[in-house]
């Protein structure tokens, strides 16, 4: 259990001590990257709960999503259209969907447990 926590901690520390200043034009990429990472995390969580978790899909998801979103944003900047909004929108919707599914799964699990307890007693 300590490995993921250690990974998070290392990530935080690296992020804290990285003192790279990026131009303001790339601020959109950062927001997209955050969303992609969160999406992947919650997607993996959902897959784990639904018992169809795949390690390769999980790991490749985050990088692929980030690259795709960044590419879209880059294209948007080049064309003068706010295409990063597309990625933002897609990630946002997926994030909410995933969280909603996770919530339902938890509720379902809680109910099943409650029923079991009732049967026991």
């Amino acid at each position: 259990m300590w490995l993921p926590v250690l990974g998070l901690f290392i990530g935080l520390v690296i992020g804290w001590f990285t003192n790279v200043s990026i131009p303001e034009a790339y601020a959109h990429y950062l927001s997209i990257a955050i969303l992609a990472a969160l999406d992947t995390l919650f997607g993996g969580m959902r897959a784990h709960l639904q018992k169809n978790y795949d390690n390769v899909v999980f790991v490749s998801g985050i990088f692929f999503n980030i690259i795709l979103a960044a590419g879209l944003a880059f294209l948007g900047v080049k064309l003068g259209v706010d295409l990063y909004l597309v990625a933002l929108f897609a990630f946002g919707v997926r994030l909410f969907n995933n969280i909603a599914i996770i919530r339902r799964l938890f509720i379902q699990m809680w109910r099943e447990r409650a029923e079991k307890n009732v049967h026991k007693s």
Binding site: M1, L3, G11, T18, H48
Partner: protein, 228 residues
């Protein structure tokens, strides 16, 4: 299972990195802005304070200006008064000079001539029948009393310092000798001077009683030479 944890660790690491990085990035991007705003505010405050100060200075300067103007006005008033005073002084000085015989004057006046009596009765003292120094003085005092502004005897201007002496057959005025006939000229109101001399029981009457020849006449313009 171990594999899962490892990949989860990597994903968490990446997520943490991105989150913290962007957090730091936006904090950095925002702080200068707020600093700038702060600076602007400070500047504005400073300018405002300066403005208020300037306005206050203006006000006090305006008040000062007002005071100064009032001062100038009062000074001018004083100056005008002084000028007027000086003018008055000058006027009275001229007047006094005139009265003292220091300036040449001319104007209406009268002329009085005094001569010894032609006829002297045997039994009388002839001294009573000639013009004496005190007779001349009498006439002159009378003229002064009647408001004469300038008097001369035989063309010699008299002043308040003048003295008349009797020296045997002649009369000395300020050291100058004069003999009969004595002609006294006076500037002033001719009517006033004449009537005061001719008053009954007055100077002329007394002189005439002694047989002294007194003739008076009004003159429209008499010129008196200044005293040297």
């Amino acid at each position: 299972m171990r594999n899962h944890r490892f990949s989860l660790a990597i994903i968490l690491m990446v997520t943490g990195f991105i989150v913290v990085f962007s957090y730091q990035y936006f904090k950095k991007a925002e702080s200068p802005k707020s600093e700038e705003a702060n600076e602007l505010w400070t500047q504005e405050h400073q300018l405002r304070t300066q403005l208020i100060k300037e306005q206050e200075t203006n006000q006090s300067l305006e008040k000062k200006l007002e005071n100064r103007r009032e001062q100038v006005q009062s000074n001018e008033q004083t100056l005008a008064n002084q000028k007027k005073e000086a003018h008055d002084i000058q006027k009275s000085l001229n007047n006094y000079r005139m009265l003292n015989g220091l300036t040449k004057v001319h104007g209406p006046g009268i002329r009085v001539s005094l001569e010894d009596a032609q006829y002297v009765p045997e039994e009388d003292d002839p001294n009573n029948y000639i013009v004496h120094q005190q007779d001349i003085q009498e006439v002159i005092y009378e003229l002064y009393a009647a408001g004469a502004e300038g008097v001369s005897l035989n063309g010699q201007r008299l002043s308040i310092h003048s003295y008349i002496e009797c020296v045997g057959p002649v009369v000395k005025i300020d050291g100058q000798k004069h003999t009969v006939p004595f002609i006294v000229e006076a500037i002033g109101d001719p009517h006033l001077l004449l009537s005061s001399l001719n008053m009954s029981g007055g100077t002329v009457d007394l002189l005439m009683n002694r047989g002294i020849k007194v003739s008076t006449e009004k003159k429209s313009d008499i010129t008196l030479k200044p005293l040297i």
